[in-house]
């Protein structure tokens, strides 16, 4: 019998923000090839979960553990977690004036390659890759020449994040409300982009969302309800539909 190492194994995770306990015993295991969705009411701790896993300063782990492909995730610096294959899609992507998307992404990709002792990609190779991934998300190359997220609409920011994901090619994507602020076309484009980039046997996705609608495009294998800083219920895709009908109080 072979032992399978799961992609992400979170055990009894407790975390505080500004000394206020937010996560209170979170357990979650995600294997390669799986798509999970975490749903839950506002303030449940969904974004906090993403930030804690990503290593955001100020989000303090007080108890429990998380391993990522067998590695102690919390022993790694945020940039090392990313280079190890963790991608955190932001609910509110940050604007960085004066730095173009292309410069940002090239720095990011080459920083990650350096972490793995790989040589940097040449300018030409990088542009080719960027064009391909931008095309996947129907994003104009001219947009990528503009400063990171500056002057982008809500939907453009989320599509830009998916372009970033395509270029960086992570193992695990934690996508925090990627569907918020998207109109129906952008929702479909992002959904198809997530499938094209991440629906692979050696990759996994954790979708954080309020609504069923993204899940129509990116079909989850497992759905979890987060409330009060813990998973209070888990099920298959049908759980998302139940939640949509009965609300969190009716189900959890």
């Amino acid at each position: 019998m072979t032992m399978l190492t799961s992609m992400l194994a979170i055990e009894n995770l407790h975390a505080s923000v500004a000394d206020k306990p937010i996560l209170k015993g979170l357990n979650l295991t995600i294997n390669a090839g799986e798509v999970h969705a975490i749903m839950g009411p506002n303030g449940a701790g969904k974004s906090t979960t993403g930030y804690v896993l990503g290593g955001r300063p100020g989000y303090e782990v007080t108890e429990g553990s998380a391993t990522f492909n067998g590695q102690d995730l919390f022993a790694l610096e945020p940039h090392e977690r990313a280079a190890s294959g963790l991608f955190l899609g932001f609910q509110y992507p940050v604007e960085i004036p004066g730095v173009s998307n292309l410069q940002f992404l090239r720095e990011a990709l080459n920083s990650q390659r350096k972490f793995h002792d790989l040589p940097p990609l040449s300018g030409g190779e990088f542009i080719k890759l960027a064009k391909e991934k931008a095309g996947l998300l129907k994003m104009d190359m001219d947009m990528l020449k503009r400063p990171v997220n500056v002057g982008f609409s809500g939907g453009e920011k989320k599509r830009a994040e998916m372009v970033q994901m395509g270029i960086l090619d992570p193992k695990l994507a934690i996508l925090d409300e990627t569907d918020s602020g998207l109109d129906i076309d952008a929702l479909r484009i992002c959904g198809e982009g997530i499938n094209a980039i991440m629906r692979k046997p050696d990759k996994a996705v954790l979708l954080i969302t309020h609504y069923q609608r993204l899940l129509d495009y990116v079909k989850p294998d497992f759905v979890h309800v987060l409330a009060g800083g813990r998973i209070v219920k888990s099920g298959g895709p049908e759980l998302a539909l139940e939640l949509e009908e009965a609300g969190y109080e009716g189900v959890a």
């Binding site: 990503g54 945020p78 940039h79 992507p93």
Partner: protein, 238 residues
């Protein structure tokens, strides 16, 4: 002005007087007039010495000056702008000082007639034992109603041994005036740093990119050559 100034003079308080002595006496300021309704832009790259400009912006004319003080032992830019009715002036300035450098921008914006608008956006980065100073004054004359004068000064210190000075000053003799000034000597935006880290960018490069973002506002709309020099100066002090 024939005698070498002393530190008692506000405008020279943070100057490198030893370097200044070598440059003394200074040439007369360059005088520029933007005639009524005209449009003027200028990029000033100062890699050493004192550059002085006296600018007169006539009625409904507009002027934009971008200044970069970089990579010199002593770099000082003095701008004195006088705004007539309905004139518009933008001063975007960036200074990047490392080692033992001294960099200063001394700006005086005089609103002498109604309805003129001005903004000064000045950004300093100082490392090593460098000193970067910004003195910016907005003067609003009696009767210059409807003036809008904005000043924003920010500085980043790369080392504890570096010094940044930021002195906004307002002198207002008119009513119905909107003037705001802000100054801050601070830290790089933590949200931005985490965003870059979350994409795998190592801390030293994340810092460099956030400094690039920090000076971007001061050089918004500046010509590519000035931006390229700023980028090179930034890499040199890191």
């Amino acid at each position: 002005m024939t005698a070498l100034p002393t530190r008692k003079a506000e405008a020279w308080r943070y100057a490198d007087l030893a370097a200044l002595e070598q440059l003394w006496p200074l040439a007369e300021p360059e005088a520029i007039t933007v005639s009524a309704g005209g449009d003027y832009t200028r990029a000033i790259l100062n890699t050493g010495g004192v550059i002085r400009i006296t600018l007169t912006i006539e009625a409904k004319a507009s002027a934009t000056i971008h200044v970069l003080n970089a990579s010199a032992t002593y770099a000082r830019v003095e701008i004195e702008a006088t705004l007539h009715e309905g004139a518009d002036f933008t001063l975007g300035g960036v200074q990047i000082a490392g080692g033992t450098q001294t960099a200063e921008i001394v700006a005086t914006v005089r609103h002498i007639a109604p309805d003129a608008t001005s903004r000064q956006i000045l950004r300093s980065i100082a490392g090593g034992t460098a000193t970067a100073s910004v003195l910016g004054k907005v003067y609003v004359a009696k009767g210059a109603d409807g003036t809008d004068g904005q000043q924003s000064m920010r500085a980043m210190l790369l080392d504890r041994t570096a010094t940044a000075n930021a002195r906004p000053e307002l002198e207002i003799h008119a009513d119905d005036v909107q003037c705001a000034h802000g100054c801050a000597i601070g830290e790089l935006d933590a949200n931005g740093l985490f965003y870059l880290a979350a994409r795998g960018i190592e801390p030293s490069r994340a810092k460099a990119l956030m400094l690039q973002a920090f000076i971007a506002e001061g050089l918004d709309g500046a010509e590519d050559n000035l931006l390229a020099h700023a980028q090179a100066a930034l890499e040199a002090v890191l």
